[in-house]
């Protein structure tokens, strides 16, 4: 009896989380007439079509957009890691700034997006950075860096300081310690942080929408363009969204076993 209740509850939960995503894929293979249908039966019974994908590939710059998204999210993730790894190490090992600096770092993530958007828009305009991959990459660096520091701070705190002291007694230099001791231990934490930054950058919309027009336009902006003046083109939109999730899905799949550890910010010693 208890088992049945458990599986019923599990089924309801799974249904709630998975069904809307299933609906994205279902909508992507529906003909326009079926999407806009007022009948209940056509919601599930319809003849599938690939028209939406054809529309997406032929009538919109889908491949250019997904390339932009890939360039910007990968580049920004690499930059974020280059900045955040040493900083988080410094916070965790040397207590740099006695917590105040860490607080400032984290609080920058709380600034409403528009606070940075107004000044940057005009600065980028005069520097010629609007609608460039470089400009968007820099914005995502700012967008993700504090969260990455926060995550990595937790991971670095889990590495015992005694390990380093022992290595120092053995005559290791600072860089050798970083390379031979810290880096192998932080790799899982760094991977999960990188996946988070990647997914956030991949799906980011507001900055992309404000700071790009044509050349550097990423996929999220492309998807928003399906909201036309008269109607929303749900079909091609779903096709685009369904394809856009696949890379993030792959990234998450590889990181699956680190995710649970990664989400606890060192508050959990597991």
């Amino acid at each position: 009896m208890k088992r049945i209740a458990f599986w019923m509850a599990t089924f309801v939960i799974l249904f709630a989380f998975v069904f809307p995503i299933f609906w994205v894929y279902l909508t992507s293979i529906k003909a326009k007439a079926d999407i806009y249908s007022l009948e209940f039966s056509t919601q599930f019974l319809f003849s599938p079509t690939i028209d939406n994908f054809r529309h997406l590939f032929l009538k919109t710059p889908f491949f250019q957009e997904i390339t932009s998204t890939a360039i910007v999210s990968v580049a920004s993730t690499i930059l974020v890691m280059l900045v955040a790894l040493p900083a988080a190490y410094s916070f965790a090992r040397f207590n740099t700034g006695y917590g105040h600096l860490l607080f400032i770092t984290i609080s920058t993530r709380m600034f409403p997006a528009a606070v940075a958007a107004i000044p940057f828009f005009f600065a980028f305009k005069s520097l010629g950075l609007l609608d460039t991959h470089f400009g968007l990459t820099m914005l995502y660096l700012y967008f993700n860096v504090s969260f990455a520091v926060f995550l990595l701070f937790g991971f670095f705190r889990e590495i015992p300081a005694e390990l380093e002291q022992a290595a120092m007694i053995d005559g290791y230099g600072r860089l050798e310690i970083l390379r031979k001791i810290i880096f192998p231990l932080i790799k899982p934490g760094a991977s999960i942080t990188a996946v988070f930054c990647l997914v956030f950058a991949w799906n980011e919309f507001l900055y992309a929408f404000l700071f790009t027009r044509l050349h550097a336009k990423p996929l999220s902006v492309g998807i928003s363009n399906f909201w036309a003046t008269i109607e929303i083109q749900w079909g091609p939109m779903s096709a685009g969204a369904g394809l856009a999730i696949l890379p993030t899905l792959a990234a998450a799949w590889f990181m699956q076993r680190y995710i649970i550890r990664g989400l606890t910010f060192g508050a959990v010693k597991g």
Partner: protein, 312 residues
């Protein structure tokens, strides 16, 4: 005597010269290394937060609606904003959305985490599936929700009609804010579930066994043992979710675009600055939101650090 003294001095000078470190050694020395490591971050933060702050502070004291040139007007912008009824409504909505979203997410996620906190068949795949909403683009998803909640064509109303209820208009001023909340709750509850689940799994077993021996009810065990021990985790969730909810934009863009009584604070800043191109008023709103979020963040951060300290 004098000679030997000089010799000693020469000697110290010489060793001092020999001991003078190379630039590289100075960088990796005990004193400077931690600052060297943190320099890139400081540069990024300086460029990307100090500049916008100064810019907004400056133009918040100016009347500056593009394309007219800016004109200094002192604190008139602040006065105008604080007297604007839209501002208070948007602020109220943001806060309301924040409270109900986090409350619902935490309660639902706690229930699910407790349910999944055991060994069962297919546990990895089932937990993995629950993570899906986190990965999909919030903007694309909100457009799909717009479809699902559509009055005539949406699945929700089709199903409601089928099982004998009357259709609901999900986008009226009374309901729309809750619809938005549902969208954001759906997307972010998995995050809370996973953090809580990780927390639950790390709790020491003996406390629960002792409670069992003493014959404590499950509710009592939960309230007196589980909940207090999970407090740091819950605080982390609240802190991060507050950070994310304050800049809630995508679900609004994909659905109501700030219409039908859903204009939140962040949306108002966007509208004033990027639709009306009123940089002066936009900067003023930005500075006010900066102040509010800083206060909120300081509060949450202090509680978090306290509970982290208590947990150790």
């Amino acid at each position: 005597m004098i000679g030997s003294g000089n010799e000693a001095r020469v000697e110290t000078l010489a060793t001092g010269f020999l001991e003078r470190k190379t630039f590289w050694e100075t960088l990796t020395s005990e004193k400077y290394f931690k600052w060297v490591l943190i320099t890139p971050l400081l540069i990024v933060l300086l460029v990307f937060t100090l500049y916008p702050m100064c810019y907004c502070l400056f133009y918040s004291t100016h009347q500056y609606a593009m394309p007219r040139p800016p004109k200094f007007i002192g604190f008139d912008n602040y006065r105008a904003v604080l007297q604007d009824v839209n501002f208070w409504q948007a602020l109220g909505r943001s806060f309301y959305l924040l409270v109900i979203s986090i409350a619902v997410e935490l309660i639902v996620a706690m229930g699910i985490a407790m349910l999944f906190n055991r060994e069962f068949k297919g546990q990895n795949i089932i937990r993995g599936l629950c993570l899906l909403p986190l990965l999909i683009s919030p903007l694309a998803m909100s457009m799909i929700w717009d479809y699902i909640f559509h009055y005539d064509m949406g699945l929700m109303n089709h199903v409601l009609a089928k099982i004998g209820f009357s259709k609901v208009n999900w986008w009226t001023p009374e309901v729309a804010l809750y619809t938005i909340a549902v969208i954001s709750i759906w997307q972010w509850t998995p995050f809370s579930i996973f953090v809580l689940l990780a927390g639950l799994r790390s709790l020491p077993r003996d406390a629960f066994e002792a409670a069992k021996v003493d014959g404590a009810t499950p509710w009592y065990t939960f309230r007196r043992i589980t909940l207090p021990m999970l407090m740091p985790i819950i605080m982390i969730i609240i802190l991060l979710r507050t950070m994310w909810l304050i800049r809630l934009f995508d679900p609004l863009y994909g659905t109501t675009r700030g219409g039908v009584g859903t204009e939140t604070f962040d949306w108002m800043v966007y509208r004033v600055a990027f639709v009306f191109f009123d940089v002066g008023a936009g900067s003023t709103l930005a500075i006010i939101s900066l102040f509010l979020t800083l206060v909120l963040c300081a509060l949450l951060f202090r509680v978090l650090m306290k509970s982290l300290g208590a947990a150790e």
